[in-house]
Amino acid sequence: MKNQILMITSDSAAPWVQTLARLGNLIFVTEAGLVAEDGPERFLLCVIDAAAVKAPDKLISQLRVQDPAARIVVMTASPTWRRARASFEAGALDYLPKNLNTEDLFRTIQRLLEKTLPPGPPLGVNNAATHRSRR
């Protein structure tokens, strides 16, 4: 599996975005750009910024169809339990507030990946954070 993290956000400079760069190469894409993609592509993680998409749960279901094994995390500035439930029911792995401390965010995502990935070398080690834009 490629160590690539698909970022569906319009705020590439946000601190939480920079934190995730420690786990893999970030690939930025807009919701419209994602719809135009042909065929499934496996990513280590797909991160959806709830502020950048119209309906996060619909997008989660769509990503799941493209790649049934996709690991999807929703980031939000205004978390509610109902939206959290909708995200999980659509197939998200986690639903996190954007204001989470950067170290806590890193550890949370790292733990999440360790729980759901087959055994292998630890994540976040020697990962050069190179940014490629597909916008």
Partner: protein, 298 residues
């Protein structure tokens, strides 16, 4: 056979209305007021509904219901019910647990009412009825890819074969039972319709010889017997219909089993594993497409 639901809540007053509503929907309900009591239930339910705070209702950090959900069999789906919904509680309940499997498949606030709970009960049980989920002990459809990756292609294909064997046995027993029921209903139906025919003929004869009153009684008796015969015919039809319902379920697994058997014909073990993995991948893709098509139709 009615499906069985286990409800765990330390607040006895809430157990009664939940039990009544679920029984009204045709489920068999077992109740428990603590985690210990739930674990000691003699008969295992098809679904658990568990209150979030089983120890202390005033403690924001009491997620003992989720702990219980994670400790109970992962094959049985769970719904977390609470008066205190929060983002953290949803994350703990529906997010991946220790082995990557979520402790629960549903989360309902008590404020949403019984209708919301019943909707999620139906959904959870419908998911559980998918043979693939049961074959791989997966809690929900979206955990299947992770579960398959965890098992590996060889163990996953072995698990499918074992599951199909057990399903075949269960199906054969069920088929025999339904066939016996159908033929019994059919025999009763024939007997009742013969008796009805005799009664109606007797009524005709009695009315011809001028004894009108006994004729009316006999005619009514004949009609009742014919009605009973019709009911037996209906029951026989239902039994045949239940037999038909088993076929698509088993067909899905047989298809997967046949493809996996084909993979066994490869001499090279890595080619075997590669093809098994391809079979699982294409099967999962198809399932997800079917699911999204269903969602679109809705």
């Amino acid at each position: 056979m009615p499906q069985r639901i286990g409800v765990v809540d330390d607040f006895r007053d809430i157990l009664t209305p939940i039990r009544e509503s679920l029984e009204g929907e045709g489920y068999v309900v077992d109740t428990a007021t603590s985690a210990q009591e739930a674990k000691k239930l003699a008969v295992h339910p098809d679904l658990w509904i568990i209150d979030l705070r089983l120890k202390d209702k005033s403690d924001d950090k009491d997620f003992s219901g989720i702990t219980l959900a994670a400790e109970l069999s992962p094959e049985v789906p769970k719904i977390i019910l609470t008066s205190f919904p929060s983002v953290q509680a949803v994350r703990n309940a529906l997010g991946p647990g220790a082995r990557g499997i979520p402790p629960a498949v549903g989360f309902v606030s008590k404020q949403e009412g019984m209708a919301a709970l019943l909707r999620r009960v139906d959904l959870a049980l419908a998911r559980q009825n998918l043979p693939l989920l049961r074959a791989f002990h997966a809690a929900a459809m979206h955990t299947l890819p992770d579960r398959l990756a965890e098992l590996g292609p060889e163990q996953a294909s072995r698990q499918v074969r074992d599951f199909i064997d057990s399903q075949r046995k269960a199906l054969t027993q069920q088929q025999e039972l339904e066939s016996r029921r159908a033929s019994e209903y059919h025999r009763f139906s024939l007997l009742a319709s013969s008796a009805g025919f005799v009664a109606i003929m007797a009524a005709v004869v009695l009315s011809l010889i001028g004894k009108t009153s006994p004729a009316t009684v006999t005619m009514l008796g004949g009609l009742v017997i014919n009605l009973v015969s019709g009911l037996f015919s209906y029951s026989a039809d239902k039994a045949h219909h239940r037999l038909k319902e088993f076929l698509p379920q088993i067909q899905e697994l047989l298809q997967l089993a046949n493809l996996l058997e084909l993979c066994n014909t490869f001499e090279d073990p890595s080619a075997r594993d590669h093809n098994r993995q391809a079979v699982f991948d294409s099967f999962l893709d198809r399932l997800h497409k079917q699911r999204s098509e269903k969602n679109e139709k809705k």
